[in-house]
Symmetry: C2
Subunit: 466 residues, 2 copies
């Protein structure tokens, strides 16, 4: 178990790292504090220093120095995590990869791009302009691709395009001793030994530091239509989703927003959407196919109490719509100025989604807190945004109790406590409840690949002796 | 390193196992020989005994007994592997899972099914009749789903549906000490810790014995059209594939067969296909979309020297077509009665596919051996079927040299030596050439999860001291 460095060891290591990074390392209080808070509500202390590497080689050297000093190494991307995944709860070196922004190559014929870990998804898509290709995985936040890989992120497009699990072809990883490993070649598929790419994706920096990755790209759909579909009830909306998936109606995005969430969006963006349980649905395809799909969906939802209130085919109209969806967190927070959100992240088999959502909404209604629900329901995944004053312990405790109960309900339904945000600090006990016998296997892998326990200690697994 | 058991230890263990399995264990020579040969050309000795477990619990008890006796445990499915993945090269207990054929549950609303590892893909699809769902992953052979997971199989449908990597939601695994681990819940996606499901898929029984698994199902496409498209040249066919993928023409299957392969099929099945480089292409979708897609493809291939020679929309016509494709191995073997095939399995980035295929065909033409090429070119994956008399060492050596050269060429093109057959016995050295620094990481994981080295020893990794 790695513990905080003593002052003399910290000074000695800082001197070594400063030789490597020059003015790209800092121990200034403001910098440390800036790296002690992600978009979530967890508070876990600050790193001892922050460095901004420019290359895999620099990360490798830094990790080797930290290994020799038994100093924790905590990778940092855009700071948009929600579960404290990148907080230096044991101090140490925060490796801020946000300056590793090189798009190393776009392999257009192969539908892939190779990037440094600090490239953000919007940057990549901007650089892809003119190629006819794009990277669709969209967690909402403009996160770094390295961070998205590390937390196995997904978001609104996963119904059609999957999650980071399926969209990382290979990565370059700095291991706990500073060695550099390429997990796979760039072939579209492979059976060449253990799937180290898949093991690194979702490992939250605890098994290695992802410094470069090759991601899949997709042809830009020729035509896209987005629909806003209010429903008479939550149940109706979810039953429509289940039926649509089973019939293979082929939506690329199926997002759910409950009535309080729609009200919050209207307030935040001065819009006038119906304040009902609502699906935002999008179809991607050829110009002849997409209108047919959308019309079919429109016919189909009538029997579930739904209708199409808005239809957007032009890029600017669709952008406005999805911008509203992506502002959900900020819109919710604006309901209670100064609030932070405790965000649940359950994902259940689709057959249990209606039950899970209805019981969850009832829990929220019975609580003293303000909360909205938004979700990637095409995947069985939804989030409650439960607003709290982070300094009000009673509120935080009530929100955490709600969160725990919801996670347990999902686990009881053969679902998971985290569909896409990761375990981080916040869900380590829940992981044990969820996967039980699998957790010691994870711990054995962690011990084998990071025997000194320096890589992002205290995340995912409750460290022995902690 | 596990070695063959001494006679007294073998007898003692057999007695213990016989108590567990009753008449479902055998050490009869014929049985052992039957489990000493897969569909490939490797010869590696026989197991000491073969047992047919009925449940995860029995596998667990058997593995615990073997662990205590330091006896190798080698899982066996349908025996359709090609790289000796299931051969007991160090003797020990062959766990033949082919009687674990229970479909435990079909979760139709969730588009998943949970099965015992010995269920074969055709059995599963037969049991799904009437649900409107199917399991599309199709490696050709009627393999067990456990075996397909263990080798990360794919086949003709991977262009649209992916490989076993993306289609196993969770598995039940018996670990090296006999403990039972469930790798994941049944949620459509998850960020709950390390992806143990993904680690087990493709691990070829070296990290655990997969006894049950939950796989994704898909709505049966409402309409399907298959096309047979001869081309003037290999290059034209491959360029058409690249362009079709980049334009997102949306084929579900894109299979390539070279002219010698088409000639062999004609000979074998008494058909009269044009004996040219040929694509078998299939589109899945709605009744209005599929004919449009097929017509678009037909227009499109003209400029690449291709045409549609045959179009099949009726199920019986399509079945006949794919049966022909699936008979490729037998048709090739029939060219040289008594022959076995050395089968290459390279997969390269699509941009390198034309180069790779053309150079490969030139190598084959320059050799003394008969060989055909068939491939899942939509994935960059193709196979040479190089016919040899397995008792003719010179022929085997020539085929192996060709195979090595082809694999090295693919590796040099940022591809893999194995797209879907796995490493097994045959590609352990090539794995090191391909992934270098990643192989010690795999070895560390193997040592952590199987410290006694009893699980399918000698596969994927060259065991220390071997």
């Amino acid at each position: 178990m790695t513990s905080r460095l003593s002052a003399p060891r910290r000074q000695a290591l800082f001197a070594q790292l400063a030789e490597l990074f020059g003015d790209r390392i800092s121990a200034a209080d403001l910098t440390l504090q800036h790296h002690a808070q992600d978009e979530g509500y967890h508070r876990a202390g600050a790193p001892d220093f922050v460095a901004w590497p420019a290359s895999t080689e620099e990360v490798s050297k830094a990790v080797a120095l930290c290994a020799a000093a038994r100093c924790p190494v905590v990778p940092w991307g855009a700071g948009t995590s929600l579960e404290g995944n990148g907080l230096a709860s044991h101090g140490g070196l925060c490796l801020d990869l946000s300056r590793m922004t090189e798009v190393i190559g776009v392999e257009a014929q192969d539908l892939s791009a190779t990037v440094q870990a600090g490239v953000r998804r919007e940057q990549l898509n901007a650089e892809l302009k003119g190629t006819g290709l794009y990277f669709p995985i969209d967690p909402g936040a403009d996160a770094t691709l390295g961070g998205m890989a590390a937390t196995r992120a997904s978001g609104t497009n996963a119904v059609k395009y999957g999650t980071m699990r399926g969209n990382v072809l290979s990565c370059t990883v700095v291991m706990a001793d500073g060695s550099v490993v390429h997990t796979a070649q760039r072939a579209p598929k492979s059976s060449a030994g253990y799937d180290l790419t898949g093991l690194m994706v979702g490992s939250e920096g605890t098994l290695g530091v992802i410094t470069e990755l090759t991601v899949r790209l997709y042809p830009l759909p020729e035509a896209v239509v987005a629909l806003v579909c209010p429903f008479a009830s939550i149940d109706g909306a979810v039953q429509a989703v289940i039926a649509a998936i089973q019939l293979g109606l082929g939506a690329a995005r199926i997002e759910f927003l409950d009535a309080p969430m729609m009200a919050a969006l209207n307030l935040y963006a001065k819009t006038a959407h119906p304040e009902q349980p609502t699906l935002f649905v999008e179809f991607h395809g050829s110009p002849d196919a997409v209108p047919v799909q959308a019309a079919r969906f429109e016919d189909f939802i009538g029997e579930f109490g739904g209708r199409v209130a808005e239809k957007a085919a032009l890029p600017e109209d669709r952008s406005a719509l999805w911008k509203a969806r992506h502002n959900a967190l900020y819109a919710a927070r604006a309901l209670r100025p100064g609030a932070r959100a405790v965000i649940t992240d359950v994902c259940v088999p689709i057959s249990r989604l209606a039950d899970c959502l209805l019981q969850t909404r009832a829990d929220l209604d019975a609580s003293s807190l303000t909360a909205t629900i938004v979700g990637h329901v095409g995947d069985g995944n939804f989030h409650c945004l439960i607003l709290v004053d982070p300094d009000d312990h009673a509120q935080v405790a009530e929100a955490e109790a709600l969160h725990q109960a919801m996670a347990r309900r999902a686990i009881g339904m053969n679902g998971t406590c985290t569909g896409e945000h990761g375990v981080g600090l916040g869900k380590r006990e829940l992981l044990v409840e969820e996967l039980g016998s699998a957790v010691p296997v994870m711990a054995a892998i962690k011990a084998a690949l990071d025997p000194l326990g320096i890589l992002n200690p205290g995340k995912i697994l409750i460290a022995p002796g902690a």
